[in-house]
């Protein structure tokens, strides 16, 4: 009897083998289907239940088109989405791929270029002028608009008004300042309160990224792929400023996200310069209500730099699979043209969009008690429109990983020019 079982197992696996090899042939013929079929259900992938997923749910409610289909919202972590998309798209199997997907702006260009036929253009669907300029630059590719710009990653300086006051400063004193002025204030704050001015993670160059965007510069040239490191004056200034921050001894060093959040929640730092999506985490420390204010991001001390920058942010994309018409229809009739939806988004989940007509609404004018009655959303929205547009290109994270090593060398005393030339050389060698 046992022998029979074994034979059966062997036969079964032979059958499986046969099924696999025959299936393979089918796949080569059937992959990348371009047909447009009517579907009655579309799928959308996004991350963060409190933010993007909630935004999708709201959009579903607010949908005012006349399409007849179900929208299936699926939550996946951002890294998970990246892995699933890459695996699915590169294997040419559209099976299991969503219709709508959220992609971080820094990564958008690389997805669009890596999988040229995988995305469905929205050029004729949405009106690009309705959205913040800097978002359009990152979501379009080769004259086609692919992304529907979503949340603003507008950067801001979150400050502890009580600590500033103790050091003799007002909120006006930290408004529209340069990083150099920020450092001087930081020293005084530290002397008066003993608190550090900010947290820095030497392995994360987000600060440098935000700094250089205030002057409209990035790690790559306009073309999005040529590394722009050596001889990039803005980046040099960013590096110098970062070193000054370190040398001024006003930064608490952290090594991960939880320590970063922990530092301001426990009142260890007097300010947090970062993207506006940090608001809920700041508010988590309810006992600090009324002691916070939000001001524009400090700028680099350079001609042409502005007090507005960005960190993160993402946009919606439609995949070129069955149901793309429905997916485009859904996006158009929600995030693409519905100002009322954006009112509910800010009211219900504090998600700040980049759809300009929405900023006029009442919800944006609400006064936030946690921030001393400031009209936070309206302010952030104004700053969003001022963010310099840059092409993030293909290699933001690849170059940044090389830059981090360069930054270590620079902080340890190496010459800035040599460091940046090294990084340039390495980046050119690695990114072919």
């Amino acid at each position: 009897m046992k022998k029979f079982n074994l034979m059966f197992l062997a036969a079964a696996s032979m059958a499986a083998l046969a099924a696999c090899s025959s299936g393979d042939e089918e796949a080569s013929g059937g992959s990348g289907s371009e047909g447009s079929a009517d579907v009655d259900e579309i799928t959308a992938w996004a991350w963060d239940p409190a933010f993007n997923i909630a935004a999708l749910e709201n959009a579903k409610e607010a949908y005012n088109g006349d399409g007849d289909y179900e929208v299936n919202i699926i939550e996946n972590a951002q890294d998970d989405i990246i892995q699933k998309l890459n695996t699915g798209l590169s294997s040419g199997t559209t099976n299991g791929m969503p219709n709508i997907v959220l992609i971080e702006d820094y990564r958008a260009q690389s997805f669009l270029q890596a999988y040229p036929d995988a995305f469905h253009p929205l050029t004729d669907v949405i009106n690009a002028e309705d959205f913040a300029d800097y978002k359009i630059a990152t979501t379009s590719f080769e004259d086609e608009q692919y992304g529907l710009p979503f949340d603003s990653g507008v950067a801001a300086l979150y400050v502890r008004t009580d600590y500033l006051e103790e050091a003799g400063y007002s909120v006006e004193d930290v408004t529209d300042i340069t990083w150099q002025e920020y450092i001087e204030i930081g020293k005084d704050v530290k002397e008066a309160t003993g608190k550090n001015m900010l947290t820095l993670d030497p392995n994360d160059l987000a600060q440098v990224r935000m700094m250089i965007q205030t002057n409209g510069s990035w790690y790559v040239e306009e073309d999005g792929s040529t590394p722009n490191i050596a001889g990039n004056e803005t980046l040099e200034k960013g590096f110098e400023t970062y070193k000054e921050l370190m040398d001024a001894d006003i930064a608490k060093i952290v090594s991960d996200w939880s320590q970063f959040v922990g530092a301001f929640n426990s009142g260890d730092v007097a300010s947090v310069p970062t993207g506006n999506w940090i608001t809920p985490s700041v508010k988590q420390a309810a006992d600090q209500s009324g002691n916070w204010a939000v001001v524009p991001m400090p700028r680099l001390d350079m001609e042409g730099a502005v007090n507005a920058s960005n960190l993160g942010g993402s946009s919606w994309y439609v995949l070129n699979v069955d149901g793309k018409e429905q997916a485009a229809d859904f996006l158009l009739n929600t995030f693409g043209s519905n100002p009322d939806l954006y009112q509910t988004l800010v009211e219900d989940i504090g998600a700040l969009g980049t759809y300009s007509p929405a900023a006029e609404g009442d919800a944006y004018a609400v006064e936030d008690e946690f921030f001393g009655g400031q009209q936070l959303l309206s302010d952030l929205s104004t700053w969003t429109d001022e963010i310099p547009a840059v092409n993030y290109g293909l290699h933001t994270y690849a170059i940044e990983d090389i830059l981090v090593t360069g930054m270590q060398d620079y902080l340890n005393g190496a010459e800035l020019d040599t460091v940046l030339e090294n990084v340039q050389g390495q980046a050119e060698a690695q990114l072919k």
Partner: protein
Amino acid sequence: MNRLKRIFIYTFLSVAAIVSIFPFLWMLTSITNKSVDVTQGRLLPGTHLIENLKTLFATVDIVPALINSSIIAIITTFLTLLLASLAGYGFEIHRSKGKDIVFTILLLSMMIPFAAIMIPLYRMFGSISETAPLIGIDSLGAVILPTATTAFFIFFFRQNTKMFPKDLVEAGRIDGLSEIGVFFRIYMPTMKTTYAAAAIIAFMNSWNNYLWPLVILQSPEKRTIPLLISNLGSSYSPDYGVIMSAIVIATLPTALVFFLMQKHFVAGMMGSVKG
């Protein structure tokens, strides 16, 4: 002298145990704390346990994920133990030149990082999805199949079979047992501790498996525990108290399997079987 040795051994083991348990204990205390306290590394228990659990059960479907993970882990463990022990036994007891070569080639399959074979594997499952949905994309079968047969466990069983007294096989044959009968009636009961160890590891590997279930599973209702936890941590404002609660719940089954299985590690078992 002997007493000194005892004291040394107990001290050594106690220090090792404390070092080993410490992060686990911290994990346990953190489920009773608010997110703010967790991020600040608070070591003492708090009073937020009920809150955390309430939020956890309200925000995610942890029970279906536990069921999915359990189904996958139990089937995978069972198949792994059966197939790998058959193969490990076959390679060692019925040793031949041809089989030695095949075995060496099989070992090669352990050596490549999974990320490198994931895309071809995905394409393979994608292509059979239409004809065989039970093992296609987004099926539990597709999670189980590539993980249930691994050279790792075949290697493990083969190495243990080297310590298995071959005369027991002869004795079985003389007793009139078929070759398969020898395996099931003599080898299996004798190698109980080897099976226990393999069960612990196979269960744990399957329970914690992340990358493959991530890419192959699509529907939320089929999600396994690690995928669910990954989602919890991806929020812009993660609640660490809730995440830790999910993690603790996710850890218990493996700890339980270990606890049950390690009881089979009793010195001198071989003797009793022989006698």
